[in-house]
């Protein structure tokens, strides 16, 4: 493409099919303890 560069083609919607196992880290245990960011967690299945 000339005018657009796609940085990533992830498709969140597809993750619904295999997601929800609940094995990933609880976000607040990672570093913050006072704020919430979930998207910087890792998927446990893809570690």
């Amino acid at each position: 493409m000339k005018h657009i560069k796609t940085i990533n083609k992830s498709n969140l919607k597809k993750t619904a099919a295999h997601g929800g196992c609940g094995e990933c880290q609880t976000s607040c245990q990672s570093a913050c303890k006072t704020s919430c960011t979930v998207a910087n967690q890792k998927c446990e299945k893809r570690r």
């Binding site: 493409m1 000339k2 005018h3 657009i4 560069k5 796609t6 940085i7 990533n8 083609k9 992830s10 498709n11 969140l12 919607k13 993750t15 619904a16 295999h18 997601g19 929800g20 609940g22 094995e23 990933c24 880290q25 609880t26 976000s27 607040c28 245990q29 990672s30 570093a31 913050c32 303890k33 006072t34 704020s35 919430c36 960011t37 979930v38 998207a39 910087n40 967690q41 890792k42 998927c43 446990e44 893809r46």
Partner: protein, 456 residues
């Protein structure tokens, strides 16, 4: 829904439902910001008319590219509502504990949300028996979940190291019996770190969070010793030693807090970096209105500038071949959590709870001491499923401010405790927290895009 923004000369479009991110040239960016779905195959005349005749060819090309991404489901894609059972899990397993082994502290930090360690109650330490009961509780409540997390928290958890050691030893025994895997983390102020404790934490803890605010003057203004002096020189060498000796494969964060008194917090991040730390988190204070150092709405433009400055500074440092990581600018665009996790959020009050030294259970560490949110006690096994269901039922679709927010799949509805402290209810978003989150996410996406584009 598409969120368009420009930072550092890069124009980005985030497709909210798919999570796809695109960098656009000026014509495509202007065009994209004008579009609303459903898109037609050819650029509508009324939009094309807003460009100059000299731009007509470029507009046609750019529109064709935007339309192609739309057809691929990577731009203006529709959100698919998931079944309620997935979003609102009934009787969710409990799989993470914030274990308050100490409601006492050897510092007297002015901004402490735990009211200098005792959470407004009495100073106390958890005994080994209560810690073991908490381990039994989480194993029993974890159902099919294999991974269980225990964060040793306080107050200051190193004041109860005997309990920490007993809990780890017991959990290691029990995990074999029950087919579980425990991961331990600890959040400490570092005062009691000695060689033996450093060895132990570096061996047993998958993540160590070290509380230090940055510059000596900033740290010592808030993080006071019991005698009222500064704590910086007491803890810095100990933290440096722990990090030097730590397996690079294991996580750690040096975690500071910024307040309205140090909105130039990039200097604190850089101070931590220059002190030898590469994993850095500096976060806004949780503080009541009127305390004098709380973050106000009027501070937001200044904070936005500061986050942008931090992102730019990180790029410059990386260009010199050096590196550090800023926790809130982490975003994993390819391998992040699934959409179900993103909808549900942090899990407080259902899959994650806090346990006090007396064994009392609260939805998370920031609810400890709130009598209306008492959930039970690990010693008698009581646990309010009704309370847990209330928390499990809150997600980005039930929080009114989240439904139409572009950041909902990244912050996942924010922090129930922050909402409660701001509005007295867990489903009404804390607006300042939302604005800060969106600033940080834009910076995170910008850094990811910058990295990606420089490699081309």
């Amino acid at each position: 829904m598409v969120h368009c923004f420009e930072q550092g000369g890069i124009r980005l479009a985030l497709d909210v439902a798919s999570g796809a991110v695109h960098a656009l040239d000026p014509i495509a960016y202007r065009l994209c910001a004008m579009l609303t779905p459903p898109l037609t195959e050819n650029c509508p005349d009324n939009l094309a008319a807003q460009f100059t005749p000299q731009e007509a060819d470029a507009v046609r090309e750019a529109y064709a590219e935007l339309y192609s991404l739309y057809q691929e489901g990577l731009l203006f894609s529709e959100e698919e509502l998931l079944p309620e059972a997935l979003i609102k899990p009934a009787d969710s397993p409990v799989k993470a504990l914030c274990l308050h082994v100490s409601h006492d502290c050897n510092l007297r930090c002015r901004y402490c949300f735990a009211q200098t360690g005792d959470f407004g109650t009495v100073r106390s330490l958890m005994d080994a028996d209560t810690a073991k009961k908490a381990i039994d509780f989480v194993i029993e409540r974890s159902g099919q979940r294999r991974n269980i997390e225990i964060d040793f928290f306080g107050g200051e958890p190193l004041m109860a190291m005997d309990t920490v050691r007993a809990a780890v030893e017991y959990a290691r025994e029990q995990e074999k019996i029950h087919g579980k895997q425990f991961r331990f983390t600890i959040t400490t102020n570092g005062v009691l770190l000695d060689d033996d404790t450093i060895d132990y934490l570096n061996r047993e803890m998958s993540n160590v969070v070290l509380s230090l605010d940055g510059r000596r003057s900033v740290n010592d203004d808030m993080r006071k010793t019991v005698a009222g002096g500064g704590s910086y020189d007491v803890v810095l060498p100990k933290m440096q030693k722990l990090v030097r000796q730590r397996d690079p494969e294991k996580d750690y964060y040096v975690r500071g807090t910024y307040t309205a008194k140090n909105l130039d917090f990039v200097e604190d991040v850089l101070s931590l970096y220059r002190a030898g730390f590469e994993q850095i988190s500096v976060e806004p204070v949780s503080a009541p209105d009127g305390c004098g150092y709380e973050i106000k709405e009027s501070d937001l433009p200044r904070i936005r500038e500061e986050y942008h400055k931090l992102a730019q500074t990180m790029i410059e440092i990386r260009q010199k071949g050096e590196w550090f990581n800023f926790f809130h600018f982490n975003v994993d665009l390819e391998q992040g959590p699934c959409v179900i996790k993103r909808l549900r959020g942090c899990g407080a009050g259902c899959e994650y709870v806090a346990v006090t030294p007396e064994g009392d259970i609260y939805p998370c560490h920031q609810f400890v001491g709130e009598k209306d949110y008492y959930m039970g006690n690990v010693k008698d096994g009581s646990f309010s499923r009704e309370q847990a269901r209330e928390f499990a039922g809150v997600n980005v679709y039930t929080r009114p401010a989240c439904r139409d927010c572009w950041a909902k799949f990244y912050c996942s509805g924010g922090c129930s405790a922050a909402n409660f402290h701001a509005h007295g209810r867990i489903d009404q978003s804390y607006e300042i927290g939302c604005e800060l989150e969106k600033m940080r996410l834009e910076c995170a996406l910008y850094l990811a895009a910058h990295d990606s584009l420089k490699n081309e």
